[in-house]
Symmetry: C2
Amino acid sequence: MVNEYTFGVDIGGTAVKLGLFDDKSNLLDHWQIPTRLEDQGSVILPDVHTAIEGMLDINHLEWANVKGIGLAVPGPVTGDGFVPAAVNLGWKNLNVKKEMQRLTCISNICVENDAKAAALGEYWKGGWGDFRSAVMITIGTAIGGAVLLDGKVLRGAFGAAGELSHIQVNPAETVPCACGKCGHLQQYVSTDAILNSVKQRLSALDQPSSLRGIAGITMKDVFDAAKAGDGIALESVEEMARLLARAMAMVSCVVDPELFIIGGGVSNAGEILLDLLRTEFKKSALTMCENARIEAAKTGSDAGIYGSAAQLIYGIE
Amino acid sequence: MVNEYTFGVDIGGTAVKLGLFDDKSNLLDHWQIPTRLEDQGSVILPDVHTAIEGMLDINHLEWANVKGIGLAVPGPVTGDGFVPAAVNLGWKNLNVKKEMQRLTCISNICVENDAKAAALGEYWKGGWGDFRSAVMITIGTAIGGAVLLDGKVLRGAFGAAGELSHIQVNPAETVPCACGKCGHLQQYVSTDAILNSVKQRLSALDQPSSLRGIAGITMKDVFDAAKAGDGIALESVEEMARLLARAMAMVSCVVDPELFIIGGGVSNAGEILLDLLRTEFKKSALTMCENARIEAAKTGSDAGIYGSAAQLIYGIE
């Protein structure tokens, strides 16, 4: 029983999710604690340490039983566990690996970007392991991306591989993206961007829409209305699919994946978004790669805890 | 001396280049024969066989001394040596590996796409081996591309990885690319496209230009005029650099290479193109990857024969 338990920790801007795995990669227990952002996020890792200790106690385990800890963080990870900036947490130039080693006395610590961790978790836990190459695109308030080749996540020379949110899909755009440059995918395909485009259509157009009666329109409202044939909802979803497919076609020209996995909140939209994406992708992509599979993510919010511990529980390099 | 010589064969639409290598990857001899296109290119591989036999004779070698043959072909290679179409040669559904095995009785045959072979040749022979990731872009009458990760060329699920010529840089374009879809890099950055843009500027604008006196303007003329400060030449080269840098910025969001290598005829343009590309890339790329190196290819027309035999002479998988 010694030294065979692994923790996967997914640190988000609101909550930290923790999972305890046995050596067969079974999730034995999972917890969630709030992310405390005070003092430039300096209490987050001590809180993680305390939470792990609590989980060990409850499961009658000790630190000596811990094989390793994987951490997913909302920011780029350059070098070995070094996070130059995680804006949502207040972190700057923090070596998360060293800090966690110091707190826990566990040497086997892996640190991964959260989008890449979610992609690894989805790839391994979602049963996509037969695909040699896959690209995951997570659509939420921001867009996350990851390129998986032979089951490993591609990092890139400067930690920017898979930063698909910044693919330029509209060179004519003059409004800047959060990164400062213009016309990027994220400006059109995040949940905020789609809700804004719906609101703009509702105020600019006279046509009737079931969305007009709703006070705080959600993505679910938009997809439900689109499924029911609502013109304004459908136009917004179609525009989203067209621009996302345009970016996916460019991704195919570079890495030509066998599979695209669409994750995040919008993956619950069901077949309407996937069908539109498949149609638009065939229009945009090179003929030779137009048969790439486009599927919705299967794992839910646990993808991050699986993926953060992926190196430890699946033995990938 | 038995079984230690390798041939690299680069099959182009006009000429076939052949190189004989020893087991230390030294190029001992190189030949060139015309590509005979009659009968749907059916005599090309027999001609290659005859040429290899000639090179063996002259170098006092026999077939028993041949370790393997690498072939680079101008078309996609899917599966193991299978070429669905090489339009310039007239080939359709040809298993080049099997055919060459049948002709030569050598079992160790590697078949590679020519742009990917040139990239491998440049990477290994050009001394870029310290870079873990590189993207090569070859600009000629068409654009070739290749993504190299850990010194290996990325193929993709459908053979389309590195097809950078079809990255969409202008979604507003209505004129189709050769592939049938619109606004692709190749429509603006091939040598033909640049010469056309120069001609259009010369006829549409009144401004004086040293290019006006030249009958058949070449790329060398354009670059020479741009270096001398000629406005029309400079605008054309700047537009080329801007669109190429835009595509390179997208490539960085996907694979984030450490190095871009610019090859083909335009790599002789020297620092003017590279400097413009570096400036434009910094404008387009994500801040985190704006320091990717951008360099001109070092190997000349021999890159293809080195690269076609790369698997055999450099022992890469």
